[in-house]
């Protein structure tokens, strides 16, 4: 089974500054998908960004971008111009490309990183 590791239980950033959250994963597959989810205190799971492993270009969504290093099996999330509303738990997740034979495209999650944003 693929494992996802988030080595930073907590991170803190000042408003308007930039922060990077780390994620590494273990897999023997060559084609897969990676995701970052945000979970605010409301408990909702909100998709922030996703990356397809066969694409070399790093995904970007407004203030959120990733640094995808396939050889190193690293998938970090950069949040630019941090805002108070960015405070949340952030989860990195892995998904196999195969469906029927591998948990129907279910996600493997890391343990999460709690992000605190200070004024």
């Amino acid at each position: 089974a693929q494992t996802v590791t988030q080595s930073q239980p907590e991170m803190s950033v000042q408003e308007a500054e930039t922060v990077t959250l780390s994620c590494t994963y273990d897999t023997s597959e060559s084609d897969y998908y990676l995701f970052w989810y945000k979970q605010p205190p409301s408990r909702q799971m909100i998709l922030v960004i996703r990356q397809e492993a066969y694409k070399q270009q790093n995904a970007t969504e407004n203030r959120f971008s990733v640094n995808f290093q396939k050889a190193a099996k690293s998938f970090s999330l950069k949040i630019s111009d941090s805002q108070l509303g960015d405070a949340a738990m952030y989860f990195c997740a892995y998904r196999s490309p195969t469906g029927i034979k591998d948990s129907g495209y279910a996600l493997n999650f890391g343990k999460g990183t709690s992000l605190l944003v200070t004024p």
Binding site: V4, M45, G99, G104, Y105
Partner: protein, 111 residues
Amino acid sequence: NAGVTQTPKFRILKIGQSMTLQCTQDMNHNYMYWYRQDPGMGLKLIYYSVGAGITDKGEVPNGYNVSRSTTEDFPLRLELAAPSQTSVYFCASKGRNQPQHFGDGTRLSIL
């Protein structure tokens, strides 16, 4: 669009009681999932379904059962509640070439 709807949002059970967590989606998605989230942990897969009538175990299925009689509904059944099942439960669905959509979760406490 309602998306993925879970009921109830909160529930307290006594040890040994049974209950069903309801999940319904209105997006005509074939894939549905149940995850649990323990404090300080990521989500772990309990059961999943690739279509009506087809279900399979995930990483942590013990103590749970599911059914999928329709495309829309994917209930999760706890037969004999145990303290170890205290958790937040998330239902999710997925359509073709789409990411997973999550419900708002059910917080379950077993005392």
